[in-house]
Symmetry: C2
Subunit: 470 residues, 2 copies
């Protein structure tokens, strides 16, 4: 070990979790280089800021720069790491027009991901991707009528005020296209409806939220339609059209007038920093990491949206860029670098999303992915009440459960419903990570009380039915 | 195998689950003897009928007699089985003043449990236990002002109309004592508050809901008090006092005027039917059963509130009379008797209860029970938000987590909070039944989205903190 510090590139969930944990466990220096102005913010909360249910933009900050510094973290905002030399164990940093080299004892690359724009011109006024607080502030400003805009909602963070001012000054939209029916698309659809905008949601594949399976996707679609959203599945938007400001989409060979578009077609790992270093990569070009978050480069770790992880069901590497994965891996790497080797943990692909009152969850491998991974999947979709039938307030809950025919092992599942459906996915996540079979799942002693669950929880009903087919 | 039928004693959850499953799987006769008028009703729903949130008493019926007969079940209500002769494989039945012997090929004793009244005179007008639909109807009638009583709420079941009429005619109560701070006590307290009755809740031990641990018990107590309930912990009620009708309690050496009392001090297995047969018994005098629900008597099974079960954590026999256990064991025995041996499943002691907006769950062994069972328990109680802090509608959720210091295995836990706290106990139930360690629990990929959970679910926060102590 040298006297050099632990260097972290990226001041968001993974990077600051690692730096914080490291400082609690080790009496050594850690420097966090963040190229932007913001640190440690909740990506997942940005649609709810636009919607209006989060009061201030700065409520989305998890850790303020002073709080990071109180933890003993040497935080350098506005510092972009532009290259890494694994041989010299140094990074090259740009800041304030200057350039310098910083030696490291260990390096964590936690550069996150960026929103993909695909072929779409998001430089047009009224056209957005959503990845970060400045995007959220800009969308909020664009949607607001100038005379009603409430600048206090920005709080006192380092927001891009020029971009906000520019968007406030534009006429508010009447009709928006949301391009992409994944998490961001569904959440932004709800947010824009809440703001009084007419929304058309375009999804290239034939259903919304494909990783949640057909049954949940159908529930989401009917929920959105009941809220006045026009859902176009199986429809590819080809281009955002306009001069200066968006005024139409090219879609299905025609044009549709819109005055706003939010593009939510996925994210891409920000992995170019390690180009030319010989780093190994995994799916989607993410940086390949092992069970401790180590890359193949000596003393170089990666975590969060830029890194691969191991899938709990397949045991293979995967890329599932989500918040808990980033926080957990960062924290584990902080411990490991501090001298206490800690596995980052597998991912099970657990995810939940809200669409108005509908809650959806998914985990593991549904049938198609399971077959691709070499399993012999058998699946069932059931509908069951979320509460005892006589108790008010319940909802029909749809559960899809997939198992391996040979071993009986639970491989994946999805849940959709309006009454506590999302949290129920954790039962399946736990069962899957513990390698339970469907027969074992069926015999679990799950909670029952009329206000919360029928005697047979919907998860147990699904297990009973699927077990009957094994 | 003889040509004799499968005989079931008791027409509630365990008995009818067994008979239904048996008829689906076997082409043989099943007779269900039920001594009362009701079959297959939801005990757990009765407080909610009194409260008014369940519309009709008959909404609490799971299976009607005609529906049972459609399943091919030979259902005999008003038939009391008074003795069993294991040597002859016959039961003796009383019905309509007659007595007859019925041979069986296999026998299931599913006689349930009864509410304990302890030293209390529940024959007084205004004094009740709650176990069954007639009790619920009587309490509802007693609470109602005669001029406001809605007889339609009884539905068209075989209710004890004389008892209802008697209670309707009495003056409605102004002040009630609930004796016992377990599930029934807490749920009836809420129900009576909803009906406008002033409630004093008396609990002999120093906290409510002892199996849920101190943290949850304190939350329940403060929740009830905030609703105007006077909670007396560490207080033994000695006697219900009155002539004809209750007018006071004897408590703390004095008397307190009340005009109603609900006694909820526990239940007792209805196991006397097998007295003298040489049947083995377990805790609380419940009938000892093995992994397939078999007693030590040949071809005699027991299930539901009258039977023991194996505890998932200790592997020892236990008596946890709850609804899912009864349904699951009955169903498994139906399969086993039909020729497909099916284990009844362990119990983990999973339970949930609602107190106004507060949801509580518990599972496994908390510290004291774990020490009694020979573990070296270490526990932590944490408080964490149920949602991302910036998202509205969340609540501070209290999680108690207990593990074995030596093995790290999760032994038990409890959760209390107003936002989806109850369903979260299923995560712990699954982890416990899968024998996960705290370190494995900490690394679970649980669901995160701002409306449902913070990045680190309260269960994960508890695991992190407890794992730090191991």
């Amino acid at each position: 070990m040298t006297g050099d510090p632990f260097v972290v590139v990226g001041g968001d969930a993974a990077g600051l979790s690692a730096a914080s944990k490291f400082r609690r466990e080790a009496d050594r220096d850690v420097i966090v280089f963040e190229k932007g102005r913001w640190i440690s913010y909740a990506h997942c909360g940005t649609p709810y800021f636009v919607e209006g249910s989060v009061e201030r933009l700065t409520d989305l900050l998890s850790l303020s720069p002073p709080a990071a510094e109180e933890r003993g973290i040497d935080l350098r905002r506005g510092h972009e790491v532009v290259s890494v030399s694994p041989a010299d164990r140094t990074v090259t940093v740009h800041a304030d027009g200057e350039r310098f080299d910083q030696p490291y004892a260990e390096l964590l690359v936690a550069t996150g991901a960026s929103a993909a724009a695909g072929p779409f011109d998001t430089a047009l006024d009224g056209a957005f991707t959503l990845h970060g607080l400045d995007d959220a502030a800009a969308i909020d400003a664009y949607v607001a009528a100038p005379e009603e805009y409430d600048r206090d909602r920005l709080g006192d963070g380092p927001v891009d005020a020029d971009r906000v001012d520019h968007n406030v000054a534009l006429d508010p939209p009447e009709r928006a296209a949301v391009v992409g029916g994944g998490y961001v698309g569904v959440e932004m659809t709800e947010a824009l409806v809440a703001r009084g905008v007419e929304v058309h949601l375009y999804q290239r594949s034939d259903r919304l939220l494909p990783p949640f399976g057909a049954a949940a996707g159908e529930r989401v679609e009917s929920t959105l339609e009941a809220q006045g959203v026009t859902v176009h599945t199986g429809t590819s938007v080809e281009e955002l059209v306009g001069e200066g400001r968006i005024d139409a989409l090219r879609v299905d060979g025609g044009t549709r007038p819109v005055d706003m578009a939010v593009v939510g077609i996925g994210i891409e790992p920000n992995a170019t920093l390690l180009d030319g270093t010989g780093v190994d990569r995994g799916p989607n070009g993410a940086i390949r990491t092992d069970d401790y978050g180590r890359t193949n480069l000596p003393a170089v770790y990666a975590a969060g949206d830029v890194a691969t992880a191991r899938h709990a069901v397949t045991g293979e590497e995967t890329w599932v860029p989500l918040g808990l994965t980033a926080n957990r891996a960062g924290r584990a790497i902080g411990s490991t670098v501090a001298g206490d080797p800690t596995p980052v943990g597998d991912v099970a692909g657990t995810a939940v999303v809200k669409a108005f009152d509908l809650e959806c969850g998914r985990v593991g491998l549904l049938a198609e992915a399971a077959a691709d991974a070499g399993f012999d999947p058998v699946g069932e979709t059931i509908t069951a009440g979320s509460r005892s039938g006589y108790y008010p307030g319940g909802d029909e809950t749809v559960v899809t459960l997939v198992a391996d025919r040979t071993s009986g092992r639970v491989l994946g599942g999805a849940i959709a419903g309006e009454d506590r459906a999302a949290v129920r996915i954790d039962t399946l996540a736990t069962a899957i990570e513990a390698d339970l079979t469907v027969a074992e799942l069926e015999r679990l002693d799950l909670a029952y009380a009329p206000p919360f669950s029928p005697v047979w929880d919907p998860v147990l009903v699904a297990a009973k039915v699927l077990n009957g087919r094994l």
